[in-house]
């Protein structure tokens, strides 16, 4: 069967910014939807304001709001229009577009879009089939509903950061790769796709009120349930595992070089002992059983670390995997970018940006056939699709279009 892009006939208005919302919208674009990012000519998505990127230490040329790779990554496969939504005429223009739209995505403060005539109540009257995804920090309702948050603020607020740290020490934090954002995106994409599937039959739209902290709490169920059941307060566990030992990240030869090692059962433990040359300490009978090893994780980690640091990471990985023990190099981001495994899986796709030129963007990490998506374009230049959207789709005359620009409606 030739590939079908599942969302080919969908039109999406994207009011979101930063990471979580734009990522959901970019994914829809990758799978065929026409995504229109609604921007303001001056108040920009702060992902456009991340500064001038460097390549091999040299600042790149071109307008910095257009050439940032972070913005490209979260906004590929989108059109860009620029409107001053505080102006009534701008709201009217969007209202004309609403009947032909299927989805709206926003991650602003609750109420922000209501104030510019784009709230769910108002737009669902124009188009009752519309699926409207709101994804705020803590949800549309409740006493904290206007809380402002970046990802680690959310993971602090919901108790997750307090679990990050070294064992038997106080909480450290922090998940500075912004776990809350991609986690929110995937937990918002799912109900959105379910609604997109359902609306084909019911013809009835939906307001999805997604809470990003609740998204984090659904994946930290284990300590939450333990607290509910036993009143036990979770604390940092570092790299330890409840049942596997040794299980952790150990030094390898060199400066700041590390490998992960996870010994899943007692047979693997014996293989590891063999690999280590059967040292006396490792042959102690009390360490034959995983429960006993897990109880003495610290002592175990110390001696394993002394052994691992004699070898280069690649040697350990090859040797331990060879006897069936999970072991990987702890890579930095640069190493990940050129890792042959990810490259072989086609995790990044080459696209051409009109100003930056050829670049690699991560595709949605699903290797699938028959209904696969692919990245068709990098991020849009600010306002590049004003003419197409307002003249071709909405049918404005050239004269009217120019009037709207000079009056600042199209900003």
């Amino acid at each position: 069967m030739s590939n079908i892009e599942p969302l080919k006939h969908l039109r999406v208005l994207d009011f979101s910014w930063v990471w979580s919302g734009p990522l959901v919208a970019a994914t829809l674009g990758e799978f065929g939807a026409q995504v229109i990012k609604v921007e303001h000519g001056k108040r920009l998505d702060n992902s456009r304001l991340r500064g001038r990127p460097l390549s091999k230490g040299i600042a790149l040329e071109g307008p910095s709001i257009e050439i940032g790779p972070y913005f490209h990554q979260t906004n590929h496969d989108k059109l860009s229009i620029t409107l001053d939504l505080k102006m009534k005429e701008a709201q009217d223009l969007l209202h004309q577009l609403i009947p032909s739209c299927d989805v709206i995505i926003e991650n602003l403060s609750p109420g922000a879009l209501d104030r510019v005539g784009m709230g769910y109540e108002e737009v669902s009257k124009i188009n009752p089939r519309l699926i409207y995804l709101s994804m705020s920090a803590v949800g549309q309702t409740g006493p904290m509903n206007t809380m402002r948050a970046y990802a680690p603020i959310m993971s602090s607020y919901c108790g997750f950061e307090s679990l990050i740290g070294y064992p038997d020490e106080q909480s450290l934090g922090m998940m500075n790769f912004g776990y809350g954002d991609p986690n929110a995106a995937i937990h918002a994409l799912l109900p959105l796709l379910a609604c997109i599937k359902e609306v084909q039959e019911t013809k009835k739209g939906q307001h999805i009120d997604m809470s990003q902290i609740e998204g984090l709490m659904t994946v930290t169920a284990e300590p939450l349930i333990d607290f509910m059941m036993n009143g036990r307060q979770a604390s940092p566990v570092g790299n330890r595992h409840k049942k596997m030992a040794p299980h952790g990240i150990y030094p390898s030869l060199g400066v700041d070089q590390w490998v992960s090692i996870a010994v899943a059962n007692d047979t693997q433990w014996l293989s590891l002992v063999d690999k280590m040359g059967r040292p006396k300490w490792a042959c102690q009978s009390e360490w034959i059983h995983s429960d006993a090893r897990a109880k003495q994780s610290q002592e175990l980690d110390d001696v394993i670390g002394k052994w691992t640091q004699q070898f280069e990471a690649q040697v350990l990985v090859k040797d331990l995997r060879g006897v069936g023990i999970a072991c990987s190099p702890v890579q930095d981001i640069e190493a990940q970018w050129v890792d042959p495994h990810f490259e072989n899986r086609g995790l990044r796709q080459k696209v051409n940006h009109p100003i930056s030129g050829p670049e690699f963007l991560y595709r949605t990490p699903w290797k699938m056939d028959n209904y696969a998506g692919h990245i068709k374009s990098s991020a849009p230049i600010l306002g590049q699709d004003n003419e197409y959207v307002f003249k071709t789709i909405l049918g404005l005359t050239q004269q009217r279009y120019e009037e709207l620009i000079s009056s600042g409606v199209i900003s």
Binding site: W19, G68, L172, K204, Q233, P236, A326, S328, V330
Partner: protein, 396 residues
């Protein structure tokens, strides 16, 4: 919500990732048959248990992830067990597995073999490394996803071991991604049917790797480090390295604990200054350049802010953040989160019946549907199946 109410899902795996995937599908009405080994899923022995008393029917995490599913106990390595699997697959729309590739290949449950037999089936595998690439057949555990992807590298103290993130996050992410990919494929299948492509196979194969997922998450954020002259992203304890750009991006102490303080925009910094009562130092030129502050002397700025923070509790600081409009997050313990008014207002937790008596409380889902088909949900959810409770329905 009944978007997937006609969809039959067969889950054949162990532990979290496959179970979380089908749990999410069942939230939208999918029917899930769970094939467990004769001794039961390992999650049944993982807990947490009430009073730490192990009981395969009362594992909290098993109940959370398997409420409302049917349990079929079968040894898939025997021909009898495989008969059970194929009986279920012959009527299924979706097959979800997280068994290792070698095992799947040896018993004919790999995508290539299944595709030939069930051209309309959506076949989904979840693993750490995925089914292709140089690592596909290597041994793996959840921790490998953080190691290989660059995630662990950036968490922890600079002079100590990198940290992974706890409680099997990579498994949950694989599950959530698989559920979305399946729903995407089902939308595609609907449109193939609508376009009368019925003479072709309507199935698909989906290969989900948690290492891929974390590589994308960390790698996306890593792109920020290409900007601002921050060429290398390393771990920096309670701070994002070099503040990830402008100051602040840090966890700092306060009167009764700690708070996470992050500002990306100049206005956010100005609002914080206002909340602090505009102390004289904030007017100095040295504290105007947020990027220099973030990169070159963040500790110096921490030291200026901390005495002010130490006067207030987390709740008081959160109140000021609300009033003045700057982003702050109290570092809270689980016990504080569970009783928070926000979650109570949202009725986030749900109750699931225990097999014998009583119920346990577990997290609900991250979304509420407020549109036109609003249904009143009872907060008491169906029990998780006993081991093999529904085996007989397949054997008849």
């Amino acid at each position: 919500m009944s978007a997937l109410s006609k969809i039959k899902v067969v889950e054949c795996g162990d532990f979290i990732s496959a179970a979380y995937c089908t749990k999410l599908l069942s939230e939208f009405g999918a029917e899930v048959d769970k094939i467990e080994p004769l001794e039961g899923d390992s999650l049944r022995r993982h807990g947490p248990f009430q009073g730490d008393i192990e009981d395969i029917e009362s594992s909290g995490l098993f109940i959370y992830l398997n409420s409302g599913k049917r349990s079929i106990a079968a040894d898939i390595q025997t021909s009898q067990g495989q008969l059970v699997v194929h009986r279920l697959l012959s009527k299924a729309d979706v097959f979800v597995t997280n068994h290792p590739l070698q095992l799947r290949q040896s018993i004919g449950l790999d995508a290539t073999t299944l595709k030939a037999r069930y051209p309309n089936l959506i076949i989904v595998s979840l693993s750490v490394f995925g089914d292709t690439g140089p690592n596909a057949l290597e041994p793996s555990q959840t921790i490998d996803a953080y190691a290989l992807s660059g995630t662990a590298w950036v968490i922890g103290e600079p002079d100590r071991a990198p940290l992974s993130i706890p409680f099997f996050q990579a498994d949950y992410q694989a599950g959530a991604h698989a559920a979305s990919a399946i729903t995407m494929a089902l939308i595609g299948r609907d449109s193939a049917i609508k376009s009368n492509l019925l003479n072709q196979s309507l199935g698909a194969s989906i290969d989900i790797s948690s290492a891929d997922i974390f590589a994308v998450a960390s790698g996306t954020n890593g792109l920020i480090y290409l900007c601002y002259g921050l060429q290398k992203w390393v771990r920096a304890g309670r701070r994002a390295f070099a503040s990830g750009g402008p100051y602040p991006y840090v966890i700092l102490p306060c009167k009764d604990g700690a708070i996470c303080l992050i500002g990306r925009a100049r206005q956010e910094w100005q609002r914080l200054i206002k909340a602090m009562g505009e102390p004289a130092w904030t007017q100095l030129e040295r504290y105007q350049d947020l990027h220099a502050m973030g990169k070159d002397y963040p500790q110096e700025v921490d030291a200026l802010i901390t005495p002010w923070l130490m006067q207030f509790t987390r709740v008081e600081l959160l109140g000021m953040a609300e009033k003045h409009g700057f982003p702050i997050g109290p570092l809270r313990q689980m016990e504080e989160v569970v009783v928070s008014d926000q979650l109570k207002h949202r009725q986030f937790f749900r109750r699931i019946k225990l097999p014998n008596h009583g119920f346990i409380q577990v997290p609900g889902v991250a979304w509420k549907m407020k549109g036109q088909n609003e249904v009143e949900d009872s907060d008491l959810f169906p029990v998780a199946p006993r081991l093999g409770e529904h085996t007989h329905t397949v054997l008849i």
